[in-house]
């Protein structure tokens, strides 16, 4: 029963932590940058970077709810971007978009199949996938930079960004919080055996989630290509770490279960995005930025990592 008590405290702190973190970042940087944080240019920069983080984090939130993880999202995005670019050059830019999304989905599907069929821990399985994809990008791009037709750049418009932003938030929230799928996903993370004994095929739920995450990576691959007009072997390289940071800042528990909240993904993304913009506005040196990010990462892990659940869940 002692567990109950601390658990409740923990949960309430987990609930306020993302708000606290975001408020702290916003207040601190608004003061230090004398309001420049909300200038048009700064917001635009935040939006462009934040879009990747938001979509990645949204995917992570679903995976985390189930106690799963996908380390390969960054390079999935890279491969999707490369395929998108190849197709755009070979066929046309309109076929390239579904090609990118399809690529992401296929990679997600493979991840899902490995995790559900072989029962290899998702962290290990997707880490292996990460290395494979890293190699695949090199093969696809022949180790260099591939340029897309310049018309591709015209697809990267504000309406597209805002559409993706809103769609991610609305669909993500509804799916996780308001549908059977979301409820069951959390249950899978909380107690897989109980879910099995309730006649629910948790492998199917996991598979679908990996496919969704793969699809997100595919979209991001396209977004990256439309933004930069080029595919390189390092496209998507920073996605995983940023999304993981945001997931933790949103107090999404990596151990899964019912305390997973979609708002965590949104709050975490805002926190990390504004943190990065704020630090750049203040011209903090590269090394110190890294240091601060690492520090925040650790604190967030400490807060969101519900050690007590570990034994129950894994």
């Amino acid at each position: 029963m002692a567990k109950t008590d601390t658990k409740q405290n923990k949960i309430s702190f987990q609930n306020i932590f993302p708000f606290l973190g975001l408020a702290l970042i916003l207040v601190l940087f608004t003061i230090l940058t004398q309001g420049k944080l909300f200038s048009r240019a700064a917001l635009k920069s935040t939006l462009n970077d934040g879009l990747y983080i938001l979509m990645g984090t949204a995917g992570f939130t679903f995976l985390c709810a189930e106690g799963e993880m996908d380390f390969s999202i960054g390079y999935n995005m890279g491969v999707s971007c490369a395929v998108c670019c190849l197709v755009a050059n070979a066929v046309n830019i309109y076929v390239a978009v579904p090609a990118a999304i399809l690529t992401g989905i296929v990679i997600g599907l493979v991840n899902g199949l490995i995790v559900t069929k072989t029962h290899i821990m998702s962290m290990i399985a997707t880490m292996g996938m990460m290395f494979i994809l890293q190699g695949l990008v090199l093969v696809l791009l022949n180790g260099s930079v591939l340029q897309a037709p310049l018309t591709m750049l015209k697809m990267y418009t504000d309406p597209l960004k805002i559409f993706l932003l809103i769609a991610t938030v609305v669909l993500g929230y509804l799916l996780l919080e308001k549908t059977k799928f979301g409820r069951v996903a959390k249950a899978v993370g909380a107690c897989p055996e109980a879910v099995r004994q309730t006649g629910i095929n948790s492998d199917r739920i996991k598979l679908i989630t990996y496919i969704i995450v793969g699809g997100i990576c595919g979209i991001l691959g396209f977004v990256s290509l439309a933004r930069t007009g080029s595919a390189t072997n390092s496209t998507g390289g920073t996605l995983m770490f940023n999304a993981l940071c945001a997931t933790l800042m949103g107090a999404v528990p990596l151990t899964g279960g019912p305390t997973t909240k979609f708002r965590g993904a949104v709050l975490g993304t805002l926190t990390i995005s504004f943190l990065v913009t704020g630090m750049t506005l203040l011209r903090i040196s590269a090394t110190n930025q890294q240091l601060i990010k690492g520090l925040i990462f650790l604190v967030a892990v400490g807060v969101s990592f519900d050690r007590k659940n570990m034994k129950v869940i894994k």
Binding site: M1, L174, A190, C191, Q197, I200, P258
Partner: protein
């Protein structure tokens, strides 16, 4: 109760968990050479008070005296040094270590010679400890994972007894033990008594309490109620003190009719798997079919097979219409429900809310369009738990905060809400106090009258006999006897078929 005879005194103890007051002004004493029974419904504070004595958690306020001297241990190691040992209700062993390492976990330095662990000496000592308590068929060098549940419990007993404690706390240990295991424990208690040492004994089984305890202290909702000496024992009195109201002695079914409906709803056909050999039976509509036997007779896995969770090696399970139950999805489509013996690990998601648990099986029913709304969930819970009287703050309360009985009610509400027609209940009253037990029996009777069918698997023969239309006894995985309600069954009659 003279003072020099008093070994341990607990005075004005308080403990709260958040808003839950687990203990309020609890005081009692433990004499030398006494076996003190501690009884009360779930959540009455029995485990809390003993865990404070064993220093597993601190009290909010209150004092304890050991042999007249103030006793305020800071941690369980200090409590052990004071001669207090505890056998926990939950499993407290490590599967991957050997029996010997489990017995001496945390005390390995005792066997360190020249910087290395002397494994042989440890095994020798451990075997001695096991032999002393009479569990000599457990080998100390074996890995714990190779032992069954009961043997593991005995390892814990050996661990507790190794330090030769003056006070032994036994918290619900006997529910996990067979007759043989119980006898070992009773013998230990007897021996301690004769040496002037004392035992605090917690159990749900009133008969057992009355048999082994010299005195019984009753707690209810964290409050000390009364202490009754052996000469004044009377089941009805104890029950009333525990529950706080009159409970009838006869809470099982009173009718002696067995089910006569010929309609078969579930059929098991020559099923063989791990612990089961060639088992066939039919479950009829409106029937309570009881399964009895020893803990390892295979009846528990049978429930698993019937719900499609375990594939049988041979044979098959079919629903009334002939559909083969090949997995739990099919089982559920045939309106079969299953509650595992290991309720907290397998049936419930204890880290989730009551709402999440009750609704889990029925989202297809609850959702409107693609969406699940809170309002509908709450309405669903209200309908599902009607008549169950789950004690809860609200539907968002975490299941882990509930008592055993309330947890079981949540599990039942889940399947009632789902609208199951066939209930497979494995040990439905395990670790549950009398009040809730009687609720569950009443519910079973109601379900039977509504034409639902129930498979009840239980290690408590009394309830199997008391509730079933038909009883099947398993022995070593095979059906060894089948009886109908009309036969006026007694426990003795059935035990012959079990061993």
């Amino acid at each position: 109760m003279s003072d020099e005879n008093l070994l341990l005194k607990v005075e004005h103890m308080y403990k709260s968990f958040g808003i839950t007051k687990a203990l309020q002004d609890v005081s009692f004493g433990l004499r030398r050479g006494q076996v003190l029974g501690l009884i009360g419904e779930n959540g009455s504070g029995k485990s809390t008070v003993t865990s404070i004595i064993a220093a597993l958690q601190p009290a909010d306020s209150g004092e304890m005296f050991l042999e007249g001297k103030p006793y305020a241990p800071k941690n369980s190691v200090e409590a052990q040094e004071h001669g207090i040992a505890m056998i926990l209700q939950e499993k407290g062993t490590f599967d991957l270590l050997t029996v010997a390492k489990n017995i001496f976990v945390g005390k390995e330095e005792r066997f360190v010679r020249h910087g290395f662990l002397d494994g042989k000496a440890m095994v020798r000592e451990a075997q001695k400890a096991l032999d002393t308590i009479g569990a000599d068929d457990i080998r100390a060098e074996k890995p714990l994972a190779s032992l069954n549940f009961e043997e593991r419990k005995l390892v814990e007993v050996a661990r507790a007894m190794y330090n030769d404690p003056t006070i032994l706390v036994v918290d619900e240990t006997t529910t996990a033990l067979s007759r043989n295991g119980r006898d070992i424990l009773y013998k230990i208690m007897e021996k301690m008594k004769s040496e002037g040492k004392s035992v605090i004994f917690i159990s749900h089984d009133l008969d057992e309490i009355m048999e082994v305890c010299d005195t019984v202290t009753i707690l209810r909702d964290g409050i000390y109620i009364d202490t009754i000496e052996k000469k004044d024992y009377e089941p009805a009195l104890l029950r009333r003190l525990m529950v706080g109201r009159e409970v009838s002695d006869h809470y099982y079914r009173t009718d002696m009719e067995s089910c006569k409906n010929p309609e078969v709803v579930l059929r098991m056909d020559h099923v063989s798997c791990k612990d089961v050999k060639d088992v066939s039976f039919e479950l009829h509509k409106g029937e309570i079919l009881g399964f009895g036997g020893l803990g390892d007779c295979g009846m528990h896995i049978l429930g698993n097979v019937a719900f499609g969770l375990t594939d049988p090696d041979l044979g098959k399970v079919t629903a009334g219409d002939g559909t083969v139950i090949k997995n739990s999805q099919v089982a559920m489509s045939k309106k079969i429900a299953y509650i595992s013996k290991n309720r907290d690990q397998e049936t419930l998601m204890v880290s989730c809310s009551i709402k999440d648990n009750v609704c889990l099986a029925s989202y297809d029913k609850i959702k409107k369009g693609p969406f699940v709304f809170k309002k509908d969930e709450n309405q669903f819970i209200k309908e599902s738990s009607e008549g169950l009287e789950i004690k809860m703050r609200d539907t968002d309360q975490y299941v882990m905060e509930l008592s055993g009985g309330n947890k079981q009610k949540v599990a039942l509400a889940k399947w009632l809400g789902f609208g199951a027609d066939i209930f497979i209940l494995d040990c439905p009253t395990r670790g549950i106090d009398i009040g809730v037990k009687s609720n569950i029996y009443q519910l079973m009777i109601r379900l039977r009258e509504e034409g639902k069918s129930i498979i009840m698997i239980s290690e408590e023969l009394a309830e199997v006999i008391g509730m079933s239309d038909r009883v099947i006894i398993l022995k070593e995985g095979k059906i060894s006897g089948e009886f109908t309600r009309e036969q006026q069954l007694t426990e003795l009659m059935l035990i012959d078929y079990m061993v």
